[in-house]
Subunit: 201 residues, 2 copies
């Protein structure tokens, strides 16, 4: 199992190196296998990885955020045999009385959007595994943690496909005392030379 | 297999009856098992259904549109062992030179948005199965068919979870000569009484 976990991480890192594109401004494009085209075989392995890690946590629901978190999230939820719940993003700041809501600042887009889940769908009985494709500064993740807080749901873990470790988002999760498992952790993106350096390399 | 296909369709129809909410204006909310919370066990059965139907078509890629198509699409793509590709929606009408693009009018939102897939990710070598959660008037689906046309990709089939048959979107697909498999086909939504009537009931 350890061997397999290692293989999955190496496969993801190889994909990032071979098919990812590094652009100026610390941007990593992975639209060829994760963000627009989705490599379902790789996703399945990633889901297995988190499943083995969080198996003992009695996960009742996987939570992610639209849009690109959905593909990863649904594979993980299916592996656990639980529902996926995805928070919706709204540009408008309308208040919806039957939803848990929080405002999130997007550093990339330099704009604030509202993140929302129906109150009917998340409650104190839930043990939530949060899954997302990216972790950068942690604003979206903090929003999801706050939604769970509003709902009284317990967050039992966080799984991230690609962590931009140099942007410090991990601290957000640690402040909540929640365990986080990132598969590929990036120490540095060199946009000029198009190079990715992983933590530990 | 026929028995199982029948069971899946019945399970989806039961979910729609029991957990769907019919609102005035021909709106069917299925956020409890398809559109915000996703029943992964049901999704897996639905994926099996389309897999058995389109098995002989040498599908190379599953195409859907963000956001709520992604959950269904990724399960189907995983079942076929091929990548999922999801078209992105943009409010802005900026032209992206390296993307296939088409403008789609949303009747529900009374606005036009741009639908886009990278040219690198869809080409003449592809045999595409289009998957979406809903079919109403068929505007989004027509957009996806046009994207495939621009790319020179062959569309080998269309799978729809819930078809609002009374809104006529099926004609769009038939005009393209493509086979469509809808799981639940709705003849009428009665918003005042909150009742769903299926085709054939």
């Amino acid at each position: 199992l350890l061997q397999e976990a290692w293989t999955t991480v190496e496969a993801l890192k190889r994909k990032i190196r071979d098919e990812g594109r590094v652009l100026p401004g610390n941007i990593l494009l992975v639209d060829q296998f994760l963000n627009q085209q989705v490599d379902t075989a790789l996703l399945r392995k990633m889901a297995d990885h988190w499943y083995l890690h969080f198996l003992e946590k009695d996960v009742t629901k996987v939570l992610t955020i639209e849009a690109s978190g959905i593909a990863v999230g649904v594979m993980v939820a299916s592996r656990f045999g639980v529902p996926l719940l995805f928070a919706k993003k709204y540009a408008s700041m309308n208040v919806t009385p039957d939803a848990h809501e929080v405002d999130v600042f997007s550093y990339t887009k330099q704009t604030t959007y509202r993140v929302s889940v129906s109150k009917r769908l998340l409650g104190p009985e839930d043990k939530v595994l949060i899954i997302d494709d990216f972790l950068a500064r942690g604003n979206a993740l903090k929003g999801l943690l706050e939604l769970c807080g509003q709902a009284g749901a317990k967050v039992v873990g966080v799984g991230i496909a690609i962590e931009k470790a140099f942007q410090g988002g991990r601290r957000v999760v640690e402040d909540y005392g929640v365990e986080i498992v990132s598969l590929a952790s990036i120490a540095e993106l060199d946009g000029d030379r198009g190079i990715v350096r992983f933590v530990g390399d």
